[in-house]
Every structure is written in C-alpha cells, then in structure tokens.
Amino acid sequence: MTSGESVHFEFETHLLDNGLQVILQPDQGAPLVTTHVMYHVGSKDERRGRTGFAHLFEHLLFQGSEHVPREGHFKYIQDAGGTLNGTTWFDRTNYFETLPANELDLALWLESDRMGYFKPGITQEKLDNQREVVKNERRQSYENRPYGLAFETVLRNAYPEGHPYRHPTIGYMEDIDAASLEDVHEFFDLHYGPNNATLVLVGDVEPATALERVKRWFGDIPSRPVPERIVVPSPLGRGETREVLPDRVQVPRVYLMFHSPSFNDPGFEATDVLTFLLADGNSSRLRKALVYERQIAAEVSAFTWPTEKVGMVFAVATARPGVDADALEAAMREVLDELRDGGATDEELEGARNRARRSLVNQLAAFGDRADSLAHAAVLRGNPSYVNESFTLYEELDRPAVEAVAATVLLPERLTAIHVVPAAASGGGGAG
C-alpha cells in the first residue's frame, strides 16, 4: 500500500528591520489565531552554576512587563477565551497563545511587551516567588515521581563535565537557588532581542494586515548584538557509559540512549522512523519480542529528541516483576543488534513510515501544534519549509537509508545505559 495523503501549507516569511523573523501561515479553517514566539536560547546556553536558569527565566516572562501587570498574561488570555503557555528546552524557549482571531492584537501586545519592555517589570519579589514555584515543579515532576530522575542521569553520563547538553532543563536545586536579579537582566539582554527570535502566526488572519500589525507592535524594539553561538563538542569517543540509579520503584526500568543524528543532520528522519519500527505498535520489534514473546517487559517505548546540535535516540523498557535490569537490557540489546546487523523488512518499514506520517499530520492539525512545528523548523533548522518537505523525506526513506542509520547508530560506543532499580534491592538510598 502506498500512501497518498500529505499536506502542504502556504506561508510567508518576512524579516523586520530589527531582525525579527516573521512567519505567516493563513488558514480559515477555524476562527482562531496562534501566536508563537520562539527565542533561540535554551538550557544549553546557560552558564556554569546556573543550570535551570533559562526555564526559571521563562517563568518570569509570565510575571508582567512595563505595560502588562503581574499575572496579566494569564488573565487577559483567559478572559479572551484563549490558551497560553511557555516551554523551555535544550535549544530554545517558546511562548505561545491561541485566541479567537479577533484578538490578534492582544497577543501581539503581550508578546511585544515581553520582548521590548520586560526589565522595568521584574522585581526581586517576583523572582523569589517563581524560584519557589520552579523548585516545586522540580519536586513534583522529577523528584517525587518514580523514574523521575532517569533522564538527567542519562545526560550526566552521556556528556562530559561542562558539556552544554549535560544538565536537564529543569536544572539543579542549588543553581535555581543561586539565580539573582543581575542574572535575569543579563540573560534578557543577551538572548531576548528581536534578532534572536522568530514570530509565527497561524490561523484566520490576512497576511498583509497581520504583517502590518506585527510591525506596529514589534518594529520599534531595537535589535541587540546576538551572542556567539556556543560551541557544542561532539559527545562521541567516550565509549559506553552506564549507571545504576536506585529509586523508590518496585520494578526496574532500563533506559538505553544512543548518540544519533540531530534534528539538523541527515539521517534524522530515518532515526525517527526507526523508533516507530522499534516500539510503536504491537508488531514493532521491541514490543513483539519483550512484551508478547518473552513477556519480560510491561511497557516499551522508543523516541528521538529533535535537538539542534547533538542527537539522542532512546529505547526504554519497564520490567515485569521478577525480571532484573541486566536481563532486560540484554534482551533489548539483542533486538537492537538484530536490527542493526540483520536489517528491516519492507513490510515493517512501510508500517513504520505510515505511522510516522500520521504522526506528522497529527502534529499539524491544530494551529498551535502547526505553529510549533513551523517555529522549530525555522529556528533549529533555519528552514520553515521543512514542515512541508518532511512528508517527502519520510516517504522516500527506503530500506537502505533506515538500515544505514541502524548500522551506524545502534553501536555500543554510542550507548549510555541507565538502570533505575528498586532502592531496597540495590542497597542504596531512595531518590526522594
């Protein structure tokens, strides 16, 4: 079965005089507009001793600015019937709201005040309040959650001391505590200029009018020197790394991470399809072998992170009771080795491609998700058209392309293995 469906979105890109990149994608399918601003700064750009700062900073941008009162973002957007959020990641920070289309000016006001007039609104009291919120976020989402510290343990093992990708976006408690108001000002000056940002509008807007309004709200914000992009050393060459992490859990979970093509590298799409082939669907390699046949895993998953400078592909499996982490890893490795050495069948590749393709379409259905995809393509790849091109790229992936990635990525020297094990069994203390 070959597929027919793909999608193509017409959009415009503009560069304002101050360096702000603007992407406009009109769609009259719903009376809504998403406004998405992505800044090209993330946790990998944090300086030493300030892990978690990019994320804490993101919280502060919801605390008002010169013309927007504290909690104004939430209040105004909810009052207009919209949704809003912000997220921080290794490579970028984004702020976005979807509103009824007649409220475009509201979004542009809030986002431009953030970008141009943030500093007068920030105070020590707001910083201290959001510091506590973020520390509680770390407790709730990581420390008090089973397996919650696994990913940061992967990073700590996969990258050498000082590497930009070595620490998690949430950061470490002592660094969150150390953040000062001077840090806030400095970070804003360095990273939040219009020429380090991309604004995406998706929805029921007329492009010429929308552009005119964007210019009104953002045009007077001066550009600033953009910091030199930090150098990200290759993580390869360190050999296999591993750690056993005792946690308050009843069964072990094994995290296998291989250094892989980044979002910018050739081979990213093939790596992505590989993860569908490995663990998406009951006939996928890992599920079939570990869940159905050997019945040693309760759950398996595989995914790749679309990171800018280094790539990471994960396979994760949770043990059934009585199965130890070593046995589970051995079984996972057997499946991965078999794929690496023996290749894939046309049938499973076709299915994996179809599942990946549906997932691409899915990510483009809602305006908010589509704006997110456009922004990532623009900021991390420098090419918003990737959103349209990706369908062809996935469609054209043939067996040799996917097998080549499997053969070069699924190698022991690229592996970081973390075994999260019941604390009692390991003799260690809990993570809480």
Partner: protein
C-alpha cells in the same frame, strides 16, 4: 516602515467577534442497528471516529471490577482466523491510531486515520469490535500486565492519592474504585468472563458512532454500511449509580516516608450532569479552581509559591462524581496549604464572588469554545461526551446564555449546598512523621501505609 505608534498602556481592543459556529452533525442512515452521525472538518487529511458502546464499568457483574477495561484492551488480541501478532501487523501497517478504553459509563473505541486509509481502518475497527476471540493466552498475558500496572501505580503519589480519595468518598460504590479494577478483582477475570461481557454489551442498539474529518458523507455512509450493515442486537439498559452515604470531615495521611512533596487532595461527593444548577456549579468551580487564574492557584502558587499548580474540579458523570481539589506542596507547608484551600472554599460559601471574577470565568468558559472544537479528534470527543451524558442537543449553543443567567447569589448557593466544610475529606500522601503533628488541628487524623 514606520507605522503609527501603538498604545501600549491599555489592553488593545478586540476586533469584531464572529458568531459561534459549532460542528453540525448530520444523522446518516443507521448501519444495521448502529446510529451514525457525521460532520465534515476539512483541512488536514484525517478522519476521527468514535464508537461509543454501553459497555462501561457500571455494567460489570459484582466482584468483576476491571472487566470492561480488560475487554476493551483485549479487542485487538485476536479473532477466530488471526492471532494477536497478525492483528498487530494489520493495524501497524495501516499506520492508524486505534484505541479502546472503558470508563464508568461506556467504552469508547476510537480511530484516527489519514483519509486515504479510512475504509481499511474501518475494516480493522469493525473486525475487532464484532469478532474478537479473546484467546486464553492473551487474556492471561494482558491480565498479568494489568496486575503489574496496579502494583506500579503504588509508586506514583498522585495516583495513590486519587485512588485513596475516591475509596474514602464512595466506599464500595462504583466510583469508589478505579475503572481498571483492583488487584483482587482483576485477578479473578478470565477469558470466559471477558467473552460473556463482550457478547452481552458490545451491541449496537444503544451504541452510536460519530465521524468527523476531511471526508465526504457518502464515503462514510458507504463504509459504515459495508461493515456494520448486518450488525444488530440489544444491549442491556445502563445502570446509573446513586448517591453514596454522606461523607464526614476527616484527615487522612498516607505515609510515604521521605517524600519530596506532599500530594494533597481535598474532596467530597459532587453532582451528576443535568442538575438544574449545573451552570452555576461550572461557574463556581471556574472561580474557585478551574482555571490558572482561579483563587486556589493564585493563592497557593502565585502568591505563596508553595506549589507548581493547584486546581479543582467537579467530575460530572451519570451519577454524582467527585469534587476534588488537587495540588502538591512541600511537606513543611502541608497544614497551611490545607487551611488556605479550606479558606478559599469557605470564602465561596460566605461571600459573593465579584462581578469581575464572574465575568472572567464566563469569558474563559465560553469564548474558548472555538478552540475546544478545533480538530476532528476534539470534535468527536466533545460531542460523544454530550451524548453519553444525555446533555441537550443545544448544550453548547446555549452554554453562553445559560452562564450569563447565573449571578453571584446562585454561585454562593451551590457552594453552600455542595461544599459544606463538615463533609470535606482532607487527604495527603506524605511523610507522615513530618506531617502528622502539623495537621492535627484540622480534624481527626488517620495515618495509614500506602496500600
């Protein structure tokens, strides 16, 4: 390019608003005994289908909690001619999203497919809904996975707290246990029970199907007729749980030593869908804890910095679902956090909410409707809820007018009626040694291990 300056000092005025257009479902010819409705949603080439069956946990025989969920999970695990892996290869090759899951009231089978494979996807869906064979080996495997999952849930403070609270509120009633059942009941389930449940409840006459997406009505009608045209049979009438005995105020600590946080729940038995004061309850909850800008979150998060977030909700169901406040805080502020939550509830009961708060809540709930009906998947989910719970056909069309008719008196009245302080259960999953003395003033404290 130097356009006229903008006025940053005020919130910019909104442009002319557009009339609310909600998806318009058309009844297609029944497929056999199955009613089918369709609404177009052009745009991306995908189709969403929801098939809703009167096969929820409320239909389970006594002592068989989890049977509905297990049956739903096993639909894809084999037919008379195909084993589980053969079924998996079929659906995985199509690349469609398929899910079947049971709730208290119904089981929802959902399909999300690219338009080009709609008929093939439908063939798969009809096969698993109508002809599953529930092989012994797969039933045993999936039951084992369920039992493991129940064990693993003991590691998650949030899930422990949720389950403990509903057990407190509903004791042995339907809503007192998770849909998926408990260790003891799941262990009793076998292939015979699953087959009998399927034979009895996967019947079309009380079921319905909704289809929405980038596809034509004719194609949907033809596809459904081809696969369900000969499907007939009657399902038993739904069973609606009544109200449990009234709860009384108590404090429960589930001991999880050295926890990094205390996972908090404050709850009581709420109300079903369809009460006369439904819209006042919706509005009251939005002011109290339904939104980011609600009182509880503004107090605990934005003012105190004690939590990453705090929310409240009334779970409307066919019977009276729970009212729950949920948050997680540092153990050191457990008692004051409880006090603040109780204080906010009390304030709803003793004072009128301000017009500004009411207006914000009304706007947030109504102006967001286009956003809640944006994608095909959202549309089929929301409209199926409307039908499952017997809401009027114009529920969403009249939503705004109904909310506008609610004033501060009625908001106070529903809080007085449904949130009496002496019936609130206060529960935390926390380090009991660190927490016990602090919460003693709040009521009779019971300390238990995490079950």
């Amino acid at each position: 390019m130097s356009p006229a300056a903008v006025d940053r000092t005020i919130r910019p005025p909104a442009g002319p608003s557009r009339p609310l257009v909600l998806p318009d479902f058309t009844r297609l010819p029944d497929a056999g005994d199955l009613p089918v409705s369709f609404a177009p949603r052009p745009g991306v080439p995908e189709v969403s289908l929801r098939l809703v069956l009167e096969a929820g946990a409320s239909q389970e025989p006594a002592g068989r909690a989890g049977l509905a969920a297990l049956a739903a999970r096993l639909l894809t695990e084999g037919t008379a001619d195909r084993d589980a892996q053969s079924m998996a290869r079929w659906v995985d090759r199509l690349g469609v999203g398929f899910d079947a899951s049971a709730g208290y009231a119904v089981t929802v089978v959902s399909l999300d497919a690219l338009t080009d494979v709609f008929e093939d996807a439908l063939e798969f869906l009809a096969t698993v809904v109508r002809y599953p064979s529930f092989p012994e080996t797969e039933v045993a495997r999936v039951r084992g996975e369920r039992l493991d999952e129940i064990e693993r849930q003991r590691d998650e403070p949030a899930i422990v707290a949720n389950h403990a609270l509903i057990a407190e509120l509903y004791a042995h009633g339907l809503y007192g246990r998770p849909v998926g059942g408990t260790k003891d009941t799941v262990a009793t389930l076998d292939a015979r029970a699953v087959r009998a449940f399927h034979a009895r409840h996967y019947r079309p006459d009380r079921a319905f199907a909704l289809v929405c997406g980038d596809i034509g009505a004719d194609r949907v009608a033809a596809g459904m007729a081809a696969r369900f045209g000969d499907w007939s049979g009657e399902a038993p009438a739904p069973a609606v749980p009544g109200a449990p005995e009234e709860t009384c105020r108590r404090v429960i600590l589930l001991d999880r030593p050295d926890s990094a946080q205390a996972e908090i729940r404050v709850g009581t038995v709420g109300v079903p869908y369809g009460t006369g004061d439904h819209h006042a309850i919706v509005l009251a909850n939005a002011v109290l804890g339904g939104l980011f800008n609600s009182r509880i979150n503004m107090n605990l998060r934005e003012d105190k910095g004690w939590t990453y977030g705090a929310r409240s909700s009334f779970r409307f169901r066919r019977g009276p679902g729970p009212f729950v406040v949920r948050t997680a805080v540092e153990t050191g502020v457990l008692a004051p956090a409880f006090e603040e939550i109780l204080g906010e509830i009390e304030r709803m009961r003793s004072e009128y909410v301000s017009d500004a708060e009411l207006e914000l809540a009304r706007h947030a709930l109504t102006l967001s409707l286009p956003l809640q009906f944006e994608t095909a998947g959202q549309i089929t989910s929301k409209v199926s809820r409307q039908r499952i719970y017997g809401l009027p056909g114009n529920y969403w069309e009249s939503f705004r007018a109904r909310l506008e008719a609610v004033g501060p008196e009625e908001v106070r009245e529903v809080c007085r009626r449904y949130l009496p302080a002496d019936r609130l259960v206060l529960l935390a999953v926390a380090d009991a040694e660190a927490a016990a003395a602090r919460v003693a003033a709040l009521g009779d404290v019971q300390i238990r291990p995490v079950a």
